[in-house]
Symmetry: none
Subunit: 212 residues, 4 copies
């Protein structure tokens, strides 16, 4: 679970609705006009509140984006947990790979425009948040690799996990950028599976290539 502490507490029900309205307003502006054009005035207008109200709940503009990212990361964390569960309960390597892939695809297929704009914001901040998230993801993958080690080629687990997560998210992110619909195609899903599986497979031919 991520922080969310920056949002003020006016615990009343009305408050929650307003906060939601602001975040939804920001999301809409991000989607329709992009990060660069997403100012506090515009956000407030779309949210149907005044700037003053906006600042009653968020200390500054950035904190709105941060909250949006928090929520995005919460979704991803949930996906991660689903992967962990799916992996823990079975010896089926294929199931693990499918779970990992499917969760990732699902997460990226939801509201891709918004995600792209938030990604731009993250770029601004040096990707600090997303980087941390991906590190946790690496932890999950590393655990899975350890568990199934017997059926995989010999691996430097942390490095392999890093490569896997980076490759997978690299592919998914770029495809989402080019055309989010692609992520729904079975062929794409299959190829990503091939990428992951081929990398860890005992039949991987690196040994034959004289790299180094």
């Amino acid at each position: 679970m991520t922080s969310r502490s920056k949002v003020r507490k006016p615990s009343q029900e009305r408050s929650r609705v307003t906060v939601e309205a602001i975040l939804e307003g920001a999301s809409q502006v991000l989607r329709s006009e992009g990060l660069a054009a997403c100012g506090t005035t515009k956000i407030a207008k779309r949210a149907g509140v005044s700037v003053g109200t906006l600042y009653q709940y968020f200390p500054n503009k950035e904190s709105i984006f941060e909250e949006l990212i928090d929520r995005l990361l919460d979704q991803r964390a949930a996906a991660r947990s689903a992967v962990v569960e799916a992996t823990e309960d079975t010896e089926d390597l294929g199931a693990a790979v499918r779970s990992l892939m499917d969760q990732l695809l699902a997460v990226h297929m939801a509201d891709p425009e918004l995600q792209h704009e938030l990604h731009k914001y993250e770029a601004t901040r040096g990707f600090t948040r997303l980087e941390k998230y991906e590190q946790q993801m690496q932890g999950v993958v590393a655990a899975a690799l350890e568990k199934h080690a017997a059926r995989l080629r010999p691996l430097n687990t942390p490095l392999a996990a890093r490569v896997l997560v980076h490759a997978m998210t690299g592919v998914v992110e770029r495809m989402s950028r080019e055309n989010p619909r692609m992520l729904g195609e079975p062929a794409v899903r299959r190829e990503i599976a091939a990428l992951l599986a081929g990398y860890v497979s005992p039949t991987n031919p690196v040994a034959l290539l004289d790299v180094e």
Copy 2:
């Protein structure tokens, strides 16, 4: 070769020197203070010219970054050409993979701070330029895949090329962000090779995983 049409009169010698000074100034500010703090006045000062002069050679601030990106992409295009050459002359798949990888690593190891800041700028623009570049890269890879098709598993070439390029650049870019030195480690090089080779290898186990 990329555009560069925005820059006025590269004919006079004095002019060329000034343009270079401005670009170098911008690069320095980007490296030392980051994109967010990189204003025209600061650039001009570091370049040792006045803002007025800066606007004599560049129509606006963005065009400076665009030119810097042009040059970055020129370097990458050169790397791409090197890969094409290396691949065309040989039947050695390993050599092709190594060439691809090495060029990519080399490109990302040069001036990583500057590249990160330019990447932030590109994020702002929706990665239009980088995306176009990666598409060209996909063309090169697709050609190589066609050429060596006989020794690879059956592939949907365009899709496979896309996955390969995205995976590779995804890994390299993220590692460069985490720690650029990583890119110089032989182990990393080997694992990237494994990622690429495993994906296209006829021994890839996707068929066994019942993905769809």
Copy 3:
């Protein structure tokens, strides 16, 4: 007694308590955070009421400070009355001077931080209220000067009263600003007495200085 007309319905008991709470809240915020940081919301919070309630009893923020000043001036008025009494009943000039001085010192030694912040507020308003107060003080002093005229040097009474009051309050106010504790020192008390007494004394040497 000063106005206080701005405060609504001091009739109900509950009301009076609330008004007191608000004034006490304001005083606390003034003391601890200063005039600049003393907003209505903060005042209300410290008073344990809502902003709405605050505005039920005070028409605007200024009126709170005005009331606080009213009370300060009431204290000073009381001090003034004490001086008047002390002066009326006796022919002792020394007693009059001592009374004047002691009341003034006592008033300024009480809650100096609050007084300083209220003084800043008064500065904002052009010192209107304090000026009026000092004028009344001048009246008292003028009366005393008339009464004891026989034992003093020849004086333009209103002007002399003005000079006396201005000098005395000028000294006390500044000392309070520099260090309120100073006001408690006997040496200081003695010097202020010397200032006042020397000014009106028949032995005053102005005549010898050829000032005009």
Copy 4:
């Protein structure tokens, strides 16, 4: 001489003119509309420049007021120096007193409206600058008291200097507030002289009053 370092250096002649225009604009707004209504936009407009220009020369609004105060204090410092000179060269106590008084009166008679508004600003800042200035003034007075000690009543010099400066500035400041013209009247000048002279005179009757 006071700092003035906050003002940027664009050494050209044009610059100086602009800085002067801004300061004059600020002075005018202060005089005609008061500190409270003196915003950057209004200052710039009166100065005949744009806000941007204003911020080219002053880092923020406060720095404009600070510079105005610097200049005011420079005038006062000059007055102080004149007093020092006048006092050093003579054994005439009357001359010293007259010089002190006259300089003070002259300084306060120049542009009193502006001074009052700057005084309000200083109130905001806790009178830090003015306080420091008055301390220096106390030093000057203390020196004079030491020099003429033989002809004065026994004094605790630092305390006496403090009382004298506080009394004098208190009187002058308040009179300037009530009605600046008063400061020009000979009677007033005479009474201030009486205040100062009576305080230090060997004939001062404090000893007779049983204070303490």
